[in-house]
Amino acid sequence: MTEFERKTDIGPPHYEQFLPPVIKANYGKWDYHEIIRPGIMVHVGESGDKLYTVRCGSPRLLAITTIREFADLADKYCDGYIRWTSRNNVEFLLTDESKIEPLVKEVEGMGFPVGGTGNQISNIVHTQGWVHCHSSASDASGVVKAVMDELSPFFTGEKSLPAKMRVAYACCLNMCGAVHCSDIAILGVHTSVPVISHDDLPKMCEIPTLVASCPTGAIRPATVDGKPSVEIEDAQCMFCGNCYTVCPACTINNAETDGISIWVGGKVSNARTTPKFSKLAVPYLPNNPPRWPEVVEAVKHIVEVYAANARKHERLGEWVDRIGWPKFFELTGFEFTKYHIDDFTHAGETFNRTAQLRH
């Protein structure tokens, strides 16, 4: 190890060393951009300089083998310049237009589709799932792969949509994918009360912290066969898993009852309408690896109903706001249940307090 000089608090390398010359030259002085075709953009500087971007999809989980191949492609076509997007796609940065086609051929040959720009469906922001996280109600990468296999025509541009469509996945209510503001959110849900291991609990967890962690106050201190522990009031538990996050002895994972819910109509941008949270569409679908057919089917169905009915520039949530939620449930055929009615802290703010109704 001595061969290396260990440093701390140095922060990330300065970005400037990674910027291609054309960017340094036109930094902050871009005039406009065009999407040449799905996945391929040109940004034109006030100087007239042109920067071409070839965007390809990625599973996000990448082997160093693949990253090295990307590096080789970058050298071959981009003078070594490459970036990733905020949705985990890869972007090759070119100045020589003639190199676009060969690059596309080669990267697609490697199995990485080009697309995801404009009103294409982009990559699914997602999380760890069974690959790395203890609290996951389902896998992440697997569900995403199964769904994207189905949606890929919308990524590559074979099929297109009225507006941007952002799909996100999170494997538990912690929502590391920040799915709460996505056009379509796929969310792993636990649906059974945590099982407490009373032997481990005193060793592993601070009881006050544990009690405080429950949003509904379902957890109470209790003495179980002499040892200090806690008990959970089943009726008050809505399976958020926060107790498990703070205390490993409250296992919430359950192979039989864990599943997946689907949420729609969120957005982040301030374009036209203000940012919106996603709303519940389907409360529960079973965990069905390796390809989660029920989930794939439901997501595809939503995309198709939206594509067939929304107006140009209308995000999914904006479309539903125009036609009304009753119509959304009618068009999709999804069942509206008591689960769709909010019953948490601000529930009353979501009740419909007007006589303005379609009949």
Binding site: F239, V282, Y284, E335, F336, K338, G348
Partner: protein
Amino acid sequence: MTEQRKTPLLDELEKGPWPSFVKEIKKEAHRPMANDVLGILERSYEEHISHWKHGGLVGVMGYGGGVIGRYCDLPEDFPHVKEFHTYRVNQPSAWFYTSDALRQLCDIWDKHGSGLTNMHGSTGDIVFLGGTTESLEPCFAELSHHGWDLGGSGSNMRTPSCCVGPARCEWACFDTLDACYNITQEFQDELHRPFFPYKYKFKFAGCPNDCVASIARADCSIIGTWKDDIRVDQNRVGEYAKDGVDIQAEICDLCPTSCMSWDGTTLDIDNSNCVKCMHCINVLHKALKPGTERGATVLVGSKAPIVGGALLSSVFVPFLEMEPPYEDLKELTEAIWDLWGEHGKGRERVGEFIQRVGLGNFLDEIGLEPVPEMVMHPRTNPYIFFEEELDEDEDEE
């Protein structure tokens, strides 16, 4: 008779164009009671504070409500308002009277009280302002003898009220006067004998203009609406346009769902997207009319701020036929009362109760199907209390 109290401050309120309540009190100031009201009110104006105390339980035999007890805190200075209770007399539907009926009420109040009234109280009652405990029974006997009854107060059903509706309005989608009368009669026991957790109010509005503000101040708000198409007389629309109404700007652009279009000659309405807001009908009232397939939307839960913050009523039944004897409305009401009556806390309005137990659970209990019309949008938080076999949700198509 005692000479009139000096009221230099109140006298200031006899000036000005708006009719003066001070003048009204003075009109009765030949009565000791009204004269003492002048005095005690002047005192409040001097001291910037009320001189009334909480009312104890006063009322008429067999009734738990209808009278608000009131005592002043300066009985020595103002002996005649030592006791100054108010009666709530149940008004006729939509506040219609004949001169004889009015005189009858005046004669009774002349004999038994201060001679001062509120026409009307905020809930809708005829309010007799200021009577003694002793006068309650004789006054009530005389009122009821002539066919008048008391309204509600305390934790019971309150006096229902309604808009003028079909009596004088072309937009009434159901008979507000009859529904109001019918419900009042049906629930006389609940009106007079408090055995609810708190008050429960009904208000009937014939259309979404809601001329009795039912959505803001009734635990149960019944608001008329229709199902079919708005009836359009294109010629009359044309006349409005000729008379200078900018149909595009004043009508189409203000429609909440933009479901109307105007090509200069015809007004086209996509009725499937009309939310029955009334605006176009309000402005073009000679040309447009509500449809003929009529009924009401039933909303529940509005109230003033205390304790949890003010609430507006929220949709329970998007569309209900409103034909006598209003069985569906009565059944729904009894189901709500049973549940709230059993599980509601003291002084917890039904709107607050619903939020505490959850609307979904509440609907389960009273046996009403959840429909998307009940919410502005489905839940955004993932805190779902899953219950039944989850498989039911799988076949979501």
